[in-house]
Amino acid sequence: MSYRNLSPVELDALREISNIGLGNAVTSLAQLINRRVNMRVPRSSFLPFEEMIELVGGYEELVGCVSLRVLGDAPGIVLYIFDGESTLRLVDMLLGLPVGTTGELDEMARSAIKEIGNVLTGSFVSAISMMTGLNMITTVPLFAFDMLGAVLTSLMVAAGRVEEQVLVIETELFQEDETLIKGHFFLLTEPGAIERLMAALGL
């Protein structure tokens, strides 16, 4: 389905539950790294996927991307994209290293990033699940660290979501020392999932 058919009220509702889910996700991240994490959401919008790439950066920009599928009553795909620098910083934060230590991604660092995706998505989904009473679970994470265009198009193709608009929420995470983690969060739902979410919210 296309999000064009949603009313402004429904779009707002969808944005709102995503924001709540993200808030919950950031709280979990803070617990994981045992440090305070603040979050800003400068923008959120529905976009066709070509525009989604342009919003995040250039086609050849280095990014880290974690993606998980959501199964259950409102199935879809969740993905987080962090710019290259932020990906390395996240690894430092998670492993308790001084920021700037990690220079490239080894197996350990990749696992760390996947784990962050797991935690973020798990708490995102459980917040929405609690709010709506819908049954939702997540699968194991996938990870890529390469050109933005290559990473995103491959994922959209694998998900069979090349014709649709996507909910994009730009997120900025930062610690007390203002270390910035710049990321984008994307939610792609399967046909019918939005209707079920709306119905569960009484809209």
């Binding site: 996938l142 390469d146 193709v157 694998a158």
Partner: protein, 168 residues
């Protein structure tokens, strides 16, 4: 240094699920190929080139095709037709293939369908059917690639993050 005798070659960007034609000295460029495949066709006699950025192997699995260039089975015949319309001879055409990588790692096999490999296989089959030889390939693996096709000599350069430019 040689004095610049010519203008800087024109660069023509080819978007996702799109194709473009260019003549010497144009360079056709498509950015960030992951599982997608870039197909270049070249008529050396005319120094005429075409580049297609396809995403999926087979259109018959979709009931609503809005952009035929998205698919190998429809996009490659379109590109061949466009080359012919511009004077190219089928018997002179030469192809090169770039892309078809597996970008993601993880254990979720439903998402690891290896579309990249299927794209490459379908592109090869379509070219074989049309009788167009594939002169070179830079396919598979797990890296994103940018493809730059120089219509003045038919060379294809491949840019990957953190690697030197590779020419095929």
């Amino acid at each position: 240094m040689e004095p610049a005798k010519f203008d800087r070659p024109v660069e023509i960007q080819v978007g996702i699920a799109d194709y473009k034609i260019g003549r010497e000295p144009a360079r056709l460029i498509t950015l960030g190929l992951g599982s997608c495949v870039g197909v270049s066709l070249y008529d050396p006699a005319l120094k005429l080139g075409g580049l297609l950025h396809l995403m999926l192997p087979d259109s018959t699995q979709f009931n609503n095709v809005t952009k035929p260039a998205k698919f190998a089975d429809l996009g490659i015949p379109l590109l061949i037709d466009e080359m012919k319309k511009n004077g190219a001879h089928l018997s002179r055409l030469q192809a090169k293939l770039v892309g078809g990588a597996q970008m993601f790692s993880g254990l979720d096999s439903k998402m690891i369908l290896n579309i990249g490999q299927r794209n490459v296989e379908k592109a090869r089959a379509m070219l074989r059917e049309a009788g167009i030889p594939i002169l070179a390939e830079e396919v598979g693996g797990n890296r994103g690639r940018t493809m730059i096709f120089d219509t003045s000599n038919g060379q294809v350069s491949i840019r990957m993050l953190g690697s030197k430019l590779k020419v095929i």
